[in-house]
Structure formats: C-alpha cells, structure tokens
C-alpha cells in the first residue's frame, strides 16, 4: 500500500488519499491523472495493466488499485 500511496502522492501531492473511498468521485484524481497513474503503476510494479481494466472503477480507491495490480501480476 505504501508504494501505491507514494505513486498517488507523486501525481497529486496536495491530496490525502488515505481518507477517500472514491478518488474519482471525490475529485482527487481526474481523467488526466488516470493515464499517468497507469504508466506509473506499470513501471513501478513491472507489469502491463490490461487495457480492458482501465476504467474508473479499478482506480477508485487503494483497495481497488491493489486488486487491479494483483490481477495483473504485480508482486505486492
């Protein structure tokens, strides 16, 4: 989780990602950030997130991102 949080904070340093259950609806991440986030997660976890998995639901909170990474073969 620490690594995911640090990636999220590198994209949006001013936000607190630990208190939100829905980053998109709460406005912590916008559509520009999602593309950066996919690239950063791919690179940092040496995976390639399946294009079919790139939807807002899979990035809505820390648990969703963790599940997405595991599904795409990341070792957490």
């Amino acid at each position: 989780m620490e690594k995911i949080l640090s990636i999220l904070n590198s994209i949006r340093p001013e936000e607190d990602f630990t208190t939100s259950e829905d980053f998109i609806s709460d406005g912590l991440l916008d559509s520009f950030d999602l593309i950066s986030l996919v690239s950063e997660l791919d690179e940092n976890f040496s995976i390639s997130i399946d294009g079919m998995d790139i939807n807002q639901e899979n990035f809505k909170n820390l648990d969703a991102i963790k599940s997405l990474l595991i599904k795409n073969g990341a070792k957490l």
């Binding site: 559509s31 520009f32 294009g51």
Partner: protein
C-alpha cells in the same frame, strides 16, 4: 471511420495498443461520463492505422482528434498516412507538462498542423467560504429556455478551437444540474458562469461578461455565487490562455495559482 458505440470499445482499443508495446501514449483522457455522453450523441468515431488508433469527435463544424499509440514515432508515421476529409478542420489537444508536450506538438507541426493556442491550468485549494448574505439577486440559475441564447452568446465571443465551447446538449445538461449561472437584463445575457463539480473539485469552465455590462460588477457577483455553490469543494481548477495576462491576474486575485500542466492546441485546416 467507424462509429464508437460503447466505452468497452475504447478499452479494447487501449488493450490492442498495449499488447503491441506495453506502454502507450494518448491524448484521450478517460472521463467515462463524458465519453458516454459523446457516444450517446453519436459523435465519436475511430480509425485504426498500424500501431495507432485515432479517435475523432465531431464538434459543430470541426473534429477533435485523439490518438492512442504505442509510441510517438509510430504516431507521427500514421498521422502522415491518415486521410483527412476535405473542408473540415481538425483540432488536437496535446496535454501534459511542458517538456513532455513540446516534442508531440513539434511532431504534429511537421504533419501540417499549426500551433493555435496554449492554455495553462490553474488551481487553488479552498481557503474560505462565501456566506449566502453576500450573494446578489441578479445572479440566477439558467433555465432550459436560456440554452440556445447561451450557446449563441458563447460562440459569438469565444474561440471555437481552444475554449471548449459546450454543445447545446452539454448546456442543457448543465442547466439540469444547476451548474450554469446567468445574469440577464430584460432578455439580454449580461454575464454567465459555467462550471462542473466532480466530487470535491470545482472546474470553472466559462466565465464571461457581456461587453455592454462590464461596469456592473457582474463578473464578481457570478464568481461569488460559484464559490458559494462550491462551498463543499476543496480544489478549484480552470484552464486559461497562457498569454491572457488580464485573466490570469484576475484568477490570481481570487487565489488561483499556475500549474505545470499545459494544453497545446494544434489545428489542421483543410
């Protein structure tokens, strides 16, 4: 050009490109609500060229051009191979940090696009709230009868390529959601402010005062009402032309600060 009929088709396109090269570059940002609106309006189309998927979005009398590509060299090769229909203009928004976008806009330039405008993003974190007693009764929510006059007001005054003028449908949607504020004198629009709220983020999209009413402080009354309606938001964003010093200082006066994100608008005239 093939019509895009579902959000799933966009995901499938991204998947196709990612399978070729793991990474991908794109200017098509994933706002599901907006994309679904465009699909419903039947305004999204796609063309597949080698390792690049182009997406076209029809907007009044021109098309926005988006790309999903394995890398930039493939993008520029296929951009060169793309057949653009005659008599239509194409607009590409290149969004990112300055150092990332320069290379892309240069590539577009070498394929016949010309630099049209550059926008900067500004933001502020919430500092204080506005009281209801400070609001002006001259500002009201627009009604559906205002949709067409608002559209005309915006198209007569804004640059169609760079200022993301909302379609009549988008204006109607904003009216339903009470995110379009208006001030009228008899039947004339004296000023308006159009915004979007996404969770705790408030995006100021258009803020415009009729040149005949500049002395009436309509602008300040509009933005006060906007801040009041967004009292629960903690982040405020907007895009502004990077050389529009007047507008930038006005936004700075209200607490906005420049971000590193910019939008370089490239246009191909046919």
């Amino acid at each position: 050009m093939l019509a895009i009929r579902s959000y799933k088709e966009i995901s499938e396109n991204i998947e196709k490109i990612k399978k070729l090269n793991t990474r991908f570059v794109t200017n098509f940002f994933l706002n599901e609500t907006k994309i679904n609106q465009w699909i419903e309006d039947e305004s999204l189309f796609t063309v597949e060229k080698g390792k690049v998927i182009f997406i076209f979005r029809k907007h009044t009398d021109f098309f926005y051009l988006y790309y999903i590509s394995t890398d930039l060299s493939e993008l520029f090769i296929e951009l060169n191979n793309l057949e653009f229909p005659e008599h239509l203009d194409f607009v590409a928004d290149i969004v990112g940090k300055a150092d990332e976008t320069n290379q892309i806009s240069n590539g577009f330039q070498s394929q016949g696009f010309i630099h049209h405008e550059t926008l900067k993003r500004m933001f502020m974190m919430k500092t204080n709230t506005v009281d209801e007693k400070d609001l002006s009764s001259e500002i009201e929510f627009a009604t559906q009868a205002d949709a067409k006059p608002v559209f005309d007001f915006l198209t007569q005054r804004l640059d169609k390529y760079s200022e993301q003028i909302p379609s009549i449908k988008e204006i109607q949607f904003a009216i339903d959601n009470q995110t379009l504020l208006i001030s009228k004198n008899n039947n004339e629009i004296a000023g308006l402010l159009y915004f979007e709220k996404i969770g705790f983020t408030a995006h100021l999209k258009e803020w415009l005062v009729n040149e005949n009413y500049r002395e009436n402080k309509i602008g300040s009354k509009l933005i006060k009402t906007f801040f009041y309606l967004c009292n629960n938001c903690n982040r405020f964003i907007l895009w502004v032309k990077e050389n529009n010093d007047n507008a930038i200082s006005k936004y700075e006066h209200y607490g906005y600060k420049k971000e590193s994100l910019k939008d370089t608008i490239m246009v191909k005239h046919n």
